[in-house]
Symmetry: C2
Subunit: 420 residues, 2 copies
């Protein structure tokens, strides 16, 4: 894409109403726009990253048998009254469901969805009757609305956000546990592919009514809202909220190998037992014809929060640093005065096999283009100049390391696509 | 995909609370689930069609210079008060904005977005200052909420629906008109690719304050809410609402060549003039340094309505008939008793190059599988039997024509992918 055509502009200074690094950089670079506190629009560059994150998650969910659907934001109160969650008027998503509600012109109140256990369980009542219909793993990428009293950390805790939420429906606790572990492994693969694998750890947390533990996926970061106790060697952690001698003994962890760190919860997986299937009447007939409730689990990843975590983990003082897997573009090609024709030619060639943001702006000086490239954070910056052309080469800067190479034009394609 | 794994089931009878063909068939076939009146979940088969429609629209919008973004559902009242649309409490989207509103826990009212002129104009105030920054064409696929007093026609007029909405920002009326015509041509290409090109006509409609006409794209259908006067030879129509002698004279149309027909509005393009740029202060400096308001237009396509229109136009008494371009799968492969191993082998081979729904269910008799295949409406049904295998062939039925061919297995791949 030609940068002269991109409708967003970078800003030199950080917005005054944002404290977090992720929101400051994403706004400055033109990836997002703040609609109001806790509500952000994804602008073209941000949406490209967002969609790549979604696609990685989709591939991994499909690989463990997930079937994608798309449920609704407007929710009828009836099914929520059955589960007892309609009345939960919390104002913090950590302690319950902070509802937004609205009214139908034709009469009656509606909920604006903040999660979908009730909705999906109701749908499945029409499609499940026998043990042969199970297990089922269904997921969606859907907008959630949470009426948080306070929002913080930029795109980390917001009032409107897209979540990948998968729900599992199993015949037994044993069958549920097998999938639960499969999904935990899948989550670790996802965070690795998003470029935060080294900083993200499976973390034991409070389990609720049906299980001793649930599992969170926590990315180490100073700006995280959570505190966890991490055993780096075993690659697992315990959330502060359940950090007791009893829990440590259960998990075989010792206090002196644990390190207390701040972290961002980028995902969680949660045993639901038969809470919702009991409340909403989702049963199946087993091999002997007996009616049994379905055993459920829920599995969430916040897309905006993951995107924000990547910014927090990798950004440096110059700007963002995107992993290749989710970068808005593969290469940032910069045109300098005097070699426009050659750069244009290179743009067309590279674009055949990779995504190129081509800074073809004519009235912006080189220094400003370089600063923008650092701020936007595309993995490779390629600059053509008279000097490099004398040797039929270009200059390639790797954003992450800052390392600069002189690469012959004939080898450029291979260099940029070599496995790292 | 194996049909035994698909979590949805078909239903033999139509739901009693749906009158329209589109909702009846889509629900019976397991493409959608009715959450409440005018609010539908897309189940896996339906979501596949939905996503293909979105991708076709995306490709065509990108081809005319569109840049994709994703705006928010929660809307602050301030910008809507500037345009005067906050107070418009209509209960029918044909006469205004039927708002859903909600309340923030931290205080204050919020809107639940039904359109995005105000939001995008506000965003662009931060990115546009000079004539060099224009024109801009930005679009999104975003959920809209309209508090309709009455819903009807299944997924055609709903309270929650995804729309592709593009907005154009031009320096002059002339520049705007060039894009407007480009987008009209793009819309005709889109409806052609969706398989309703022959039934869809550009239709002159009321233009509002800034233009004599706007343009609708109307698909002929008995269940349509609109009445239009169609000139089949000229391939244009006039909406009943502006059917006057003066308008006909303007358009060079004659009463005796016009045919009155019912139709579904699947898209519309609309000149906005400077209404929103004036109200929200979106200006640019021209070549002479003068401040001028930006000239705008809006361009919508309802995805659910397009999907519903395809069902209405193509379905027959046995079920739905999907065009190849948006079919949930390319081929419906049916396993019969006794030849499971051979069918399984064929499934794996075909899946390498095309999307196959493989009816591998073991306890469903052949007649039921055939009825399901007709209901679901995948373009090709492939059946392997002992008889066909004697000739190393399979039976291929084209859903649309009902035509059945015996095709040698070695030629099957070519047959199924031949240009039509």
């Amino acid at each position: 894409m030609r940068q002269s055509q991109l409708f967003t502009k970078t800003q030199k200074t950080s917005p005054k109403d944002e404290e977090s690094k992720n929101a400051q950089l994403l706004i400055r670079a033109g990836f997002i726009h703040k609609e109001m506190a806790g509500v952000y629009t994804y602008l073209p560059l941000g949406l490209r990253v967002f969609n790549k994150i979604a696609q990685i998650i989709r591939e991994e969910m499909n690989a463990i048998g997930g079937q994608e659907l798309l449920m609704t934001t407007l929710q009828s109160p009836e099914i929520w009254k059955l589960s007892g969650r309609w009345g939960q008027e919390q104002t913090d998503s950590r302690s319950g469901l902070p509802w937004f509600k609205t009214k139908l012109a034709s009469g009656g109140e509606l909920g604006i969805a903040n999660t979908h256990e009730e909705a999906l369980t109701t749908i499945l009542c029409q499609h499940v009757s026998s043990y042969k219909d199970l297990p089922i793993y269904a997921y969606q990428f859907q907008n959630k609305f949470r009426n948080e009293l306070r929002v913080k950390n930029g795109i980390m805790r917001t009032r409107e956000f897209v979540m990948k939420d998968l729900y599992s429906f199993s015949r037994s606790e044993e069958e549920f546990r097998v999938f639960y572990e499969k999904c935990a492994a899948s989550y670790l693969r996802i965070f690795k592919r998003l470029g935060i694998g080294d900083a993200t750890f499976r973390t034991f947390a409070s389990g609720g009514a049906f299980s001793k533990f649930s599992d969170e996926f926590q990315t180490l970061s100073e700006v995280g809202e959570d505190s966890i106790y991490l055993d780096r060697k075993k690659q697992i952690a315990v959330n502060e909220e359940i950090y007791t001698n009893e829990v440590l003994a259960d998990l075989g962890l010792k206090k002196d190998t644990l390190e207390k760190v701040k972290s961002i919860e980028v995902g969680n997986i949660f045993p639901l037992g038969t809470k919702y299937s009991d409340a909403l009447g989702l049963k199946y007939r087993d091999e002997r014809g007996e009616q049994k409730p379905v055993v459920m689990g829920s599995y969430g990843i916040g897309l905006g929060r993951s995107l924000g975590a990547v910014v927090e983990v990798h950004a440096d003082e110059k700007g963002m640093v995107w992993p290749l897997s989710i970068a808005p573009f593969h290469v940032h090609l910069i045109a300098l005065a005097g070699v426009e024709a050659e750069t244009e030619k290179l743009y067309k060639e590279l674009s055949r096999t990779m995504e190129v943001l081509y800074d073809d702006r004519t009235e912006v000086r080189a220094g400003e283009k370089f600063a923008d490239a650092d701020l936007i954070g595309i993995p490779y910056r390629v600059v053509v100049s008279k000097k490099t052309l004398e040797e039929e080469s270009v200059e390639v800067k790797e954003r992450k390391s800052g390392h600069i190479d002189r690469i012959p034009i004939t080898e450029l394609q291979n260099f940029l696509t070599r496995p790292l």
